[in-house]
Symmetry: C2
Subunit: 338 residues, 2 copies
């Protein structure tokens, strides 16, 4: 590759900023020479962190931004008012063609609003979903949409299915990804009004591998690669997934402290348990892409450590090299002609 | 108590019928003299099972029903056509005042449809939700609605909150149960159209302890006692809850078989793990009540063993002795006058 993918990284967002963010950025450029990273934020906070590492200096640049949008700030207002915040400055770089992608562990609401207002949608895209990868027994699935746009229409869900399918195939390398719609039963006539309306439309899409309905019970076992739902449902799934796993692990750990026998056993199983937990750790795959934009916006967990930041930056390379935005636009044009 | 609670039990429904159902019924009457059980189904299948046990015979009666509604049968049609099925005969007994409650591990769809068509709603109740108890770190919560009535309106959700609150307080013994609505954020202005409309209505209800929104992440830790949502969301929560737990346990077990060290550890922690799993086992609390009917219909898991059947029957005693149907009717009348 001659041209490097240019990734603007929000150095000020998330619980572990700027330390872990800077570390993740350095890791990414040390691992790939196909990327240039712009660390967006307060230079006086970023520079001391950067000094800790050695890295190819031509692949990294600091872009000053004096303000910080906090998690509690109202998203729309803060995007409008805090013009010199890392989220606004970073996303503007995409619009101004100075960057191809933006990665942030900051306020989800602000990142989503900024994506829509500052980066802008691909022509023909009705809504821009946030699509996290969730761990399953078979690997991972894309859950689309988990964003802030609730009360979706069937045409939105059809676009989500197409965009998600393209992402899983070309960025994550899943051949002919199985697309399913979240439902409360397997039969076509089951579901709420939205699902009943969307199901036949998905069945007609010749460019995706639609396998029908998926019940929530089947999600953890990896029964589909692209899981389509509107954002309220997606949000419930994503958060319950996290909540159930951590509650269960907490309970098991607590149970193991019950007596000497189980404590001894706990000591012995620790490495194995750790390995299992790592397999189920979503941060292995990087953050959640916001799809349908003229460029890529990736939202990582607020609690992101360097590994997730690094993986998210590397994810951007594939996204841009594979021209996912172009492929999405093409798929919408094809479907218009059908 | 002079009068016994009369519970019709579907002896033919579920994966383990009639064996486990009959066993559960016998356990219930051996544990309480305040109940009379009617085993509804094919006498030639029930009698050989009954012969295995000793029990107070005056507390048990077989009510013949020759047909069986299978899980795959279309609910509405089967309730209309299979007039001599255990589900139809059992639910008719409530309507005809021959029973106070009906317990079934059979087809959820058929039980729900039968509840509406055969048992009938309490006057003023707009919809009859199915409300399973789900295990949490603090004990259990009532998830209302997980039934088949999707696309609910805000007035339905308000009734669900009232009915669920009454059930948790008077049947499950939770004082001033905390009622929350499932949402994608904690703030009042968050949510989809339905939640935004329902939230202020719940805030106005003086007869419930409304604590606001609950994010799905907080459900497993037991952040609310009554969790209000429409049936599509409820169904997703219920099934994902089951799916995530079993996938995680499967993965952990598999991880423990990795090497000799972890296998040895697994052997040592087995009793502790079993105890933890038991704590998280929903069947400890009995089945899911369908609320708002002129009588009680309890749906137990299709895979129910005798313990869940027994607990569900005992649950019916409290329901009837506490006159929950009367309390529900009263709460609706009070709220009308407000």
């Amino acid at each position: 590759m001659e041209e490097k993918t240019r990734v603007a990284v929000d150095a000020m967002g998330g619980d572990n900023a700027p330390g872990e963010i800077v570390k993740g950025a350095v890791e990414a450029i040390n691992r790939s020479d196909r990327v240039k990273v712009f660390l967006v934020g307060q230079p006086e906070a970023i520079e001391p962190e950067l000094k800790k590492y050695t890295y190819p200096e031509e692949q990294l640049e600091i872009v000053p931004a004096s303000e910080i949008i906090e998690t509690g700030d109202p998203p729309v207002e803060s995007i409008r008012r805090k013009k010199d915040s890392s989220i606004v400055v970073g996303q503007r770089m995409i619009r101004e063609k100075k960057a191809d992608a933006f990665v942030s562990a900051g306020s989800t609401g602000a990142v989503l609003v900024g994506g829509q207002l500052l980066v802008g949608r691909i022509r023909g895209v009705e809504r821009t979903p946030l699509a996290p990868l969730i761990p399953t027994e078979k690997g991972f699935s894309l859950l689309i949409d988990c964003g802030a746009n609730v009360d979706a229409r069937s045409s939105h869900l059809v676009q989500f299915a197409r965009m998600g399918s393209i992402y899983m195939e070309h960025v994550m390398g899943v051949k002919s990804p199985r697309v399913a719609i979240v439902n409360i039963g397997m039969e076509e006539e089951k579901g709420n009004a939205l699902v009943k309306e969307t199901y036949p439309l998905l069945k007609e899409c010749r460019d995706i591998n639609f396998i029908g309905s998926i019940e929530a019970r089947e999600i953890p076992s990896g029964a589909a690669d692209v899981i389509v739902c509107e954002a309220f449902t997606g949000n419930v799934i994503l958060k319950l997934y996290e909540g159930t796993s951590s509650a269960l692990v907490r309970q098991i750990k607590q149970g193991l402290m019950m007596n000497l026998r189980s404590k001894l056993g706990a000591l012995l199983i620790k490495p194995a348990l750790k390995k299992t937990m790592k397999k189920l750790d979503a941060s292995e795959y990087g953050g959640a892409p916001m799809l349908g934009l003229n460029g890529l916006v990736v939202k990582t967990h607020g609690s992101s450590k360097s590994k997730e930041v690094c993986n998210s930056i590397l994810q951007c390379i594939t996204f841009c090299e594979q021209d996912i935005a172009g492929k999405i636009q093409e798929s919408l044009t094809v479907s218009d002609k059908e």
